[in-house]
Symmetry: C2
Subunit: 149 residues, 2 copies
């Protein structure tokens, strides 16, 4: 029962909620949550425009928040859910965190890290394609709106 | 005359000063400065232990500080000096910043980004080997001390 509730879909929906926050703030809509024992211990959405800071990606903030919550640098028992495939920078941060699992929604053909080979820690499991359509749709609507304005 | 004063060696010494701050705080001694028109507009040293945050690398902080100073996400007219070759995460951040030039001291054979190919922006120039011995020596002393304690 609990396993059904706390599914990959469930937490990806939480990441999507974060992405929607970015969307309404006119940021590229990417959202992320870090989960430990079925509890969200870190979350973030892209804030690069608002903070005028290229490092302010959703994953970076979620990792920092999760480490802050746990008081630990390493997130080996955690799962990171992110709506879009992480970029090289975020993959590097995920590597350092030694996080247990990365679950992403839609691929990023252009800037996704997988193009560069597997940059993650050998112990990190990768799952992709969770709520893929919802995750990519939000991006498509955002960039369509951006081109029109 | 000014060009002599504001040489790569000069700014790498500033980055080394940052690295020394990390050293005395028992952090892996990496230091970084971001320079624009011969002025340091961002600096940082590794703070991953103190902040309990794998993202708190010297370069990340220096990039954030420089963008904050300029009020601009892109650092195309800037040079980043860092004592040790950036890791994949920092290379990713450097990519996003579109920084004009990256100057590093010593190579990081194990975690340096160049092993993964050139992850930087095509317009970013890379220079290496500036004060290489000083930069690597600080690391060697640090890890020797760490092993002994």
């Amino acid at each position: 029962m609990l396993n059904e509730l706390f599914s990959h879909d469930f937490f990806m929906k939480m990441a999507l909620k974060e992405a929607e926050k970015a969307f309404v703030e006119n940021e590229v809509p990417v959202g992320c949550v870090v989960v430990c024992e079925n509890q969200i211990i870190g979350k973030g959405h892209n804030l690069t425009e608002k903070l005028v800071d290229v490092t302010a990606h959703a994953e970076m903030q979620a990792i920092t928040a999760a480490s802050n919550y746990l008081g630990a640098k390493y997130l080996t028992e955690c799962t990171l859910y992110v709506t879009i495939e992480p970029c090289v920078m975020c993959a590097g941060a995920i590597f350092w965190s030694q996080i247990g699992k990365v679950v992403y929604g839609a691929r990023d053909e252009k800037r996704g890290f997988t193009k560069m080979g597997n940059l993650l820690h050998p112990k990190t499991e990768i799952i992709s394609g969770i709520l893929e359509n919802e995750c990519s749709e939000l991006m498509k609507i955002f960039f369509k709106k951006l081109r029109e304005t």
